[in-house]
Amino acid sequence: MSSENLDSDTQIDYEDEKQDSQEKNSSPIKSEEAKLKAKYPSLNHKPGGSDFLMKRLQKGPKYFDSGDYNMAKAKMKNKQLPVAGPDKNLVTGDHIPTPQDLPQRKSSLVTSKLAG
């Protein structure tokens, strides 16, 4: 297969590079490639391959379910938003709240700093 030939070609190039390593100017990219191979010897040699591309198709972490996702979001929000102080309107425990008691949907999203 053509891809196998490619691998063997780069293998030969790599060995050539080792001998020519003094002349880095000739191909800086090749010496960078050699560096990468030295660091990660088991690295898949096919950045154009379907595995690589399929990773690009799916970005972001996969969550177990929506509950997992919402928990993760809540954790992030706690870290990011400025603490507004205890909400005095919040009704808990005393009695069953009526619609009038519940606070309106908080705009939990802050205005962009570009507009500030």
Binding site: P28, K39, S50, R56, Y63, L109, S112, L114
Partner: protein
């Protein structure tokens, strides 16, 4: 081209928007910048799903030195985060692209998109309101009809300008993969949206239906070799569109040829020099942006290291290639490790297609004057923020043999570059030399240096448009 002077590119600082502090929240990262067709409005989108629109200050438009003053006009939450229950994946609210519609009436319209959903927003002004209702007080309380003894006709009275943004259409559920581009057709009726494997055609009025016009998904995903990275409609020919790929090729399609444009009409591809092939070749040849020139004659593509200009009449190689940051060839290994090698830089044309611009690292951005064969490296930095302060050209020296022997103030060595400070998004005013450059969380506005009218280099107003 204008005459006079040394014709050096000269740019001045105008404004910077955004917070100064270094602690940047993810939501504040700017993800797109776009001028509208007149240049009067400038829109930005961020990772938090918000859109901020700036408007050129009317009073200052006639004063050359201050014509690039832009102030906040409207801001709204365009997209919110969602959860794809079927795949258990988050759908980010990040605004990938904003595209303005040409203005048809008093309101402005723009399309904004995240990974999955495109929205048409109407931005309208309200500067008067009705007063003098019979059944309602001014504060909204209702009047008992029994107390009304006479009737009056409500009248419109002027009020403080209010700018409202309302979503007019939501175009959803048409993309399995992540939307990377939207482009309004020159017919002003349709637009395209492109994801990694498909391009869809929409009618702006119809949101429950779209036509698939390009589909490069292989029957077996193991055979996947390339994905779509950007797509755009031709500025004048409503039947022509282009899309770029992760392999560095651009395909031009003619919608008149067939309903499904899987067969390209033209394929723009530069043959690769086999001696240059390396592990990194495919990654750095992936095209991150494609833009037609305003004339429609040329195509500009951006890959990791270069900007290329293609003539639509010549498919086998670009007519111009500009090196953006060639010195990064020596850093490929670390750029791969820190994922910078996958950064998607955009590029843009100036109004008359004579200069192109793109971003780089360390908050540098690059300009290439096609006619003059000159290029410049400028920096968007808070250190040079005096009004109308001239930007000094910067230089990156590659240490070792050929470079920063005497460390000058405007020179910086490759090893000192800050790869977290990247300029991915830039925009050029359609008719003027005003540019908007987005760093990670700040928006810089620059304008070209206005000549002193009393000096010997007396340029007329029309000459000013051509000078860079």
């Amino acid at each position: 081209m204008a005459g006079g002077g040394s014709e050096d590119m000269q740019w001045c600082f105008s404004q910077v928007k955004g917070a100064i502090d270094d602690d940047v929240a993810e939501a504040d990262i700017i993800s797109t910048v776009e001028f509208n067709h007149s240049g009067e409005l400038l829109a930005t989108g961020d990772r938090g799903g918000r859109v901020v629109i700036f408007q050129q200050e009317v009073e200052n438009k006639s004063v050359p030195e201050y014509r690039s003053e832009y102030n906040v006009y409207s801001t709204f939450q365009s997209h919110e985060p969602e959860f794809d229950y079927l795949k258990s994946l988050e759908i980010e609210e990040k605004i990938n692209k904003i595209r303005w519609l040409p203005q048809k009436n008093a309101s402005q319209f723009l399309l904004s998109t995240n990974d999955k959903t495109i929205k048409l927003w109407k931005i309208s002004e309200r500067d008067k309101r009705p007063e003098g209702y019979n059944l309602k007080e001014e504060d909204g309380r209702y009047i008992n009809p029994g107390n009304v003894t006479s009737l009056r006709v409500p009248v419109f009275r002027p009020m403080d300008l209010m700018v409202e943004a309302s979503p007019r259409r939501v175009f959803s559920n048409a993309h399995t993969y992540h939307i990377n581009s939207i482009s309004v057709n020159s017919d002003h009726e349709t637009y395209l949206s492109a994801d990694d494997l498909r391009v869809n055609l929409w009618n702006l009025e119809i949101n429950d239906r779209s036509f698939n016009i390009v589909d490069i998904k292989p029957a077996n995903m193991e055979d996947l070799t390339e994905i779509i990275t950007a797509a755009e409609f031709h500025p004048n020919h409503c039947h022509t569109l282009v899309y770029s790929s992760s392999k560095g090729s651009i395909r031009l399609c003619d919608m008149r040829a067939s309903a499904l444009c899987d067969q390209h009409t033209k394929l723009f591809e530069e043959p690769e020099d086999p001696s240059n092939r390396s592990f990194f070749s495919e990654i750095i040849s992936s095209i991150s942006d494609v833009k037609f020139s305003h004339s429609g004659r040329y195509l500009m593509t951006r890959d990791y290291l270069t900007v290329k200009i293609w003539d639509l009449n010549m498919e086998n190689r670009p007519i111009e290639t500009y090196q953006v940051h060639e010195y990064l060839r020596n850093k490929m290994c670390s750029l791969y490790e820190n994922d910078c090698l996958f950064d998607k830089f955009e590029c843009c044309w100036n109004g008359n297609d004579s200069v192109v611009m793109t971003g780089s690292y360390n908050n540098f951005f690059r300009m290439f004057d096609r006619a003059q064969r000159r290029d410049a490296t400028l920096e968007a930095s808070r250190e040079h923020n005096l009004p109308l302060q001239l930007l000094k050209p910067r230089r990156v020296c590659t240490g070792g043999g050929g470079g920063c022997s005497k460390r000058k103030k405007d020179e910086i060595s490759v090893d000192s570059l800050d790869f977290n400070k990247k300029i991915l998004h830039t925009a050029w005013h359609p008719n003027d030399n005003i540019i908007a450059v987005a760093t990670i969380n700040n928006l810089y506005i620059f304008q070209d240096k206005v000549s002193d009218p009393d000096s010997a280099d007396d340029l007329s107003a029309s000459d000013m448009m051509c000078t860079i």
